[in-house]
Amino acid sequence: MASVSFEHVRKDFGTATVVHDFDLHVANGEFVVLVGGSGCGKSTILRMLAGLEDITSGNVRIGEREVTHLPPRERDVAMVFQDYALYPHLTARENISLGLRLRKIPKAEIARRVQWAAELLELQPFLDRKPKKMSGGQRQRIAMGRAIVREPAVFLFDEPLSNLDAHLRGQMRHEIARLQRRVGTTTLYVTHDQVEAMTLADRLVVLEGGRIQQVGRPIDVYKAPANQFVAGFIGTPPMNFLDGQLERDKDELVFVSDALRFPLAAERRPHHAVDSNERVTLGVRPEDLTLTDTAGPATILGQLVLAEVLGATTHLHVEVGGRRLIAAIPSGPSPAAGAPISLSIDTRQLHFFASDGSSLLLGSNNS
């Protein structure tokens, strides 16, 4: 086990820079999830740590050891791949033990570790089968078994659950969380799936365009996104955005847009000075919108386009002045499509973003 440090790591492919000045310290035993859309550089970062991709500049350390230029086998990392990457001509047992055999670990020790992994991951029934004769979930467990028997300093997961169906994905997610807690190995996990990111991570690293957008505990990232990208990326359905401006009205700060005009609650005021008439974007989470009958200042009038009943929750798609907002409300009798509708905004839960996308609240509220 060991900590992991990236120091000013950069990666170029030809003339394109896919990772810019990446700096991150992962503590010993920590579970860090790298999340972002496709092409954000998250897999490249993982592959650079594994030694599968050259590092253009910067340093990578595992524990006290500088590994920037070491080949993969000398880095003491184990990786689980999206397509499992099992050797098709070997049985599950051979797949799991191959890395140990190549490292000349004594036979008795190999047998002991395979046994341990098999018990931990419930692999016994298919240890002597080849990958072709296994389901996706079983193969993924074999791939995990192969990683843990190595007892590496760091686990790397590269979208390990993307090829599984929804039900199995949930199940394997719990297994990964349980496994990591049991063995306590430092883990970097790459995904584009928010549920995985939110539920597995001790800390979340949100990436976009090869740059870190935000690092923090999942709930902090959710509650206090550093910028409009993070706000829109984390959360399902995504945060609603409304363009407008902030105006000073005596002692109050007022948000003004075509559809709205309301004073800001004291705790959601931008912590640094805002020039009057500055263009800002208001961000409202779908769950911070509620159906209302009484017209108040922070009430939006719109037209219901679509009501998606998910069970306990219903997503109302509402058209407001040419824009589409989504409200997540508890299921119940809801208006018919096309009906006029009023939504009340919970003004204690607002987000404001400057025209460059950065949050105007960050630093003032981290709850």
Partner: protein, 270 residues
């Protein structure tokens, strides 16, 4: 009805292909009086033709020579060819594109064109009348490299990554990960290489004069054309031809099964 016509046509085609071969096999067991006939069953079967053939020229030795030469060539084409294919398909190094282009360009050069220069080279090296002279020009094969490269490019990258993390070097990845996956293309390249080497006549005729080093098709040619079989001894010549053909047909029947099996089992995704 259409099916019946289909089978009749197939049967006729089969007869057309098989009859000459069966006739040849039958003739080798016939006595001199019968040799010209169309019958497939000898009236008085005899092994005289084989005895004669065996006595007049070192066919046993030629059979061993051919086996040794063809096997060595096949083995090196597979080993060197897959190593080159692996490098061209999966390793990043400067000049890879040029090497790829050169490999393809080699295919465009007819073998006849390189015959004389290669011969001169072998003479300079002093490899005339040696196994080295028979084998060396064929140990690399551009077609084999291209076929294997094409297959190797389809092996998932994660499998290589995984092997590297498991601690394998490139050669080990090639022989313990790629080879088991590439059974079908390796079998195909192996069969064609072996057949090509086994049937090669022109090159051995150029570089080997010592009867003890002659390959089977070469000795057969020399034997038939040089009058070793004696005038009008068609059956003896055909007996020699049988020695050439039977191992190949046997190998083909055996390998075909393996070939189809390995084709069916290369599904990497499952």
């Amino acid at each position: 009805m259409r099916r019946a016509v289909f089978y009749v046509v197939l049967a006729l085609a089969a007869v057309a292909f098989l009859y000459p071969f069966l006739w040849m096999a039958a003739t080798t067991f016939k006595s001199p009086a019968e040799v010209g006939g169309l019958s497939l069953i000898p009236d008085q079967p005899t092994l005289d033709n084989y005895r004669l053939m065996w006595a007049r020229a070192p066919f046993g030795r030629a059979l061993l020579n051919s086996l040794f030469v063809a096997t060595t060539i096949t083995f090196s084409v597979l080993v060197f060819g897959s190593a080159a294919a692996y490098a061209l398909a999966r390793l990043n190094f400067p000049g890879r594109g040029i090497l790829n282009a050169v490999t393809i360009a080699v295919l465009l050069v007819p073998a006849q064109l390189t015959l004389i220069p290669t011969y001169t080279l072998i003479v300079q090296l002093g490899w005339v009348d040696s196994y080295a002279g028979l084998i060396a020009p064929f140990v690399f094969n551009a077609t084999a490299i291209l076929i294997l490269r094409q297959f190797f490019m389809q092996v998932p990258r994660s499998l290589m990554d995984s092997a590297r993390l498991d601690g394998m070097g490139e050669l080990r990845i090639l022989f313990t990960v790629f080879w088991p996956l590439a059974k079908a293309p390796l079998a195909m390249v192996g069969i064609f290489t072996f057949m090509g080497a086994w049937n090669e006549v022109l090159w051995p005729l150029l570089v080997v004069r010592d009867e003890q080093l002659m390959t089977l098709p070469q000795l057969l040619t020399v034997f038939s054309l040089g009058g070793g079989a004696g005038p009008r001894q068609l059956a003896t010549k055909l007996a020699a031809a049988m020695v050439l053909v039977v191992p190949v047909v046997a190998a083909y029947i055996f390998l075909q099964r393996f070939f189809i099996e390995s084709m069916a089992s290369t599904g990497i995704k499952g």
